[in-house]
């Protein structure tokens, strides 16, 4: 699996001008392949969220290119970009952003319906996505009647409904307790194992531990990254020696 779903090429983002200019991200390059989960670590203000917003087309680079599934975001029209964001990219944020007046399944159906899918089709896709996060049995609950962990599962289902293959997560465990937070990461990991490309922004090392590769940011610059992991099989063999 060497297909790059997300690619950043020398991406720089400068906020402000002249003396007040702040280089939030400075010449960052990164490729994330299908099946891969990459964690981005760094202190607050190091450029983690900027990187994620640029990767998701929510912000534009001052220079450099962001490429999602082979498309340069800079080349897309406004509507083309909106379409790509809906169809190819899933977002999981710290705040859950579920719509309180919609049930779990309606929340998950929403991006599919916005995309023009029929209600029946959207419902089927949503149910499958909820099932993947073991939330199908609570499909008709409203967010307020679910625990934080359940809401986050629904948010992940919404991020991955349809065939979106890039999932961007910004501190997705938020205020969840450590066990529930771990479940969320296990889920994200499973989605990547199933072929999605994932970028996880976190300041928690224990969460970065789930990634295939960890990239370190400092003052907008990538300062280091971990070597790619050996296959899981060889690790197990190593342990049972």
């Amino acid at each position: 699996m060497t297909e790059a779903i997300l690619e950043l090429r020398s991406v720089t983002r400068v906020h402000g001008h002249d003396e007040t200019a702040v280089r939030a991200l400075d010449g960052a390059s990164l490729a994330v392949n299908a099946g891969e989960l990459v964690a981005v670590m760094g202190p607050s203000g190091s450029g983690k969220s900027t990187l994620l917003n640029l990767a998701g087309g929510l912000d534009s680079p001052t220079s450099g290119d962001v490429i999602v599934e082979g498309k340069r975001l800079g080349d897309l029209s406004r509507s083309g970009l909106a379409e790509l964001r809906r169809r190819s990219i899933g977002y999981v944020f710290q705040s859950l952003n579920l719509i309180p007046s919609l049930t779990a399944i309606e929340n998950v159906m929403l991006p599919r319906e916005l995309d023009g899918a029929s209600t029946r089709r959207a419902r089927r896709d949503a149910l499958r996505a909820l099932d993947a996060v073991t939330m199908a049995q609570l499909a008709d609950r409203f967010p307020d009647d679910m625990s934080g962990g359940q809401q986050q599962r629904v948010a992940i289902a919404r991020a991955l409904v349809g065939d979106r293959r890039l999932v961007l997560a910004d501190e997705p465990t938020g205020a969840l307790d450590s066990q529930t937070g771990e479940d969320v990461l296990r889920l994200l990991r499973a989605r990547c194992d199933a072929g999605a490309a994932g970028v996880l922004v976190t300041h928690e090392a224990r969460h970065a531990g789930w990634a295939d590769r960890v990239v370190f940011l400092r003052d907008g610059t990538m300062v280091d990254e971990t070597a790619p992991m050996a296959s899981a099989e060889s690790l197990i063999a190593g342990v049972s020696q």
């Binding site: 720089t12 400068v14 002249d18 003396e19 007040t20 200019a21 702040v22 280089r23 939030a24 670590m41 202190p43 607050s44 203000g45 190091s46 450029g47 220079s63 296990r186 990991r189 300041h203 928690e204 090392a205 224990r206 970065a208 531990g209 789930w210 990634a211 295939d212 960890v214 370190f216 400092r218 003052d219 907008g220 300062v223 280091d224 990254e225 971990t226 070597a227 992991m229 899981a232 690790l235 197990i236 190593g238 342990v239 049972s240 020696q241």
Partner: protein, 191 residues
């Protein structure tokens, strides 16, 4: 480390041969601390000397079967009932390295910290994977969690060291830029 209490605790379940003890010890701890058979027999003979285990008559000349004695059971009970207290802080090579790095001219301490952070995060990734591979083996899950939390603590400490270092440097140069704020670009800095 308590191979002594480890073996004694296992013998409380049932009498065993030396090689069985080694297997059981390793499978209980996910092979995190491998034992060689020599260590097992040395420990067993000390335990026998101290009256905590006895050699049963089940084995033969070449292979003894060991069983726990009443004194051994009391010893195990006391072990579980007593918190483990290191007598002095263990010598920590990393802490010593960083403490000396800041006093050594020409050493870039932030690079030392980053190299260690990358390496420890990598170790953490491996622990996380092998824990997921452990399935439902509760003993091994607990050991793996312990390794993960230790690695995490080390990384948090490294983050803390770096913040401290940056603050210290800022104070020394009179600039009051907090450690975590992005650097403002100097005028005319090149793109």
């Amino acid at each position: 480390m308590s191979i002594r209490f480890g073996l004694l605790t296992l013998l409380q379940q049932r009498p065993m041969y030396g090689y069985q003890l080694r297997q059981e010890f390793e499978s209980s701890t996910g092979s995190t601390w491998p034992l060689n058979i020599g260590q097992v027999y040395t420990t067993l003979s000390r335990l026998e000397r101290d009256g905590l285990v006895v050699v049963t008559d089940e084995g033969d000349e070449s292979q003894h079967v060991y069983a726990i004695s009443d004194a051994g059971r009391i010893s195990v009970h006391d072990w579980f009932a007593t918190p483990i207290q290191p007598s002095a802080p263990p010598r920590d090579e990393l802490a010593i390295k960083l403490a000396l790095a800041i006093r050594t001219p020409g050493v870039d301490v932030r690079s030392v910290i980053q190299a260690q952070r990358t390496s420890t995060v990598r170790t953490l990734q491996e622990y996380t994977r092998s824990r997921e591979a452990a399935g439902e083996d509760l003993s091994w899950l607990l050991v793996a969690d312990s390794l993960i939390f230790s690695a995490e603590a080390e990384i948090r400490w490294l983050d803390h060291c770096e913040t401290r270092l940056v603050r210290h440097a800022a104070r020394a140069t009179g600039s009051e830029r907090p450690a975590h704020q992005p650097v403002a670009i100097e005028e005319g800095a090149k793109k």
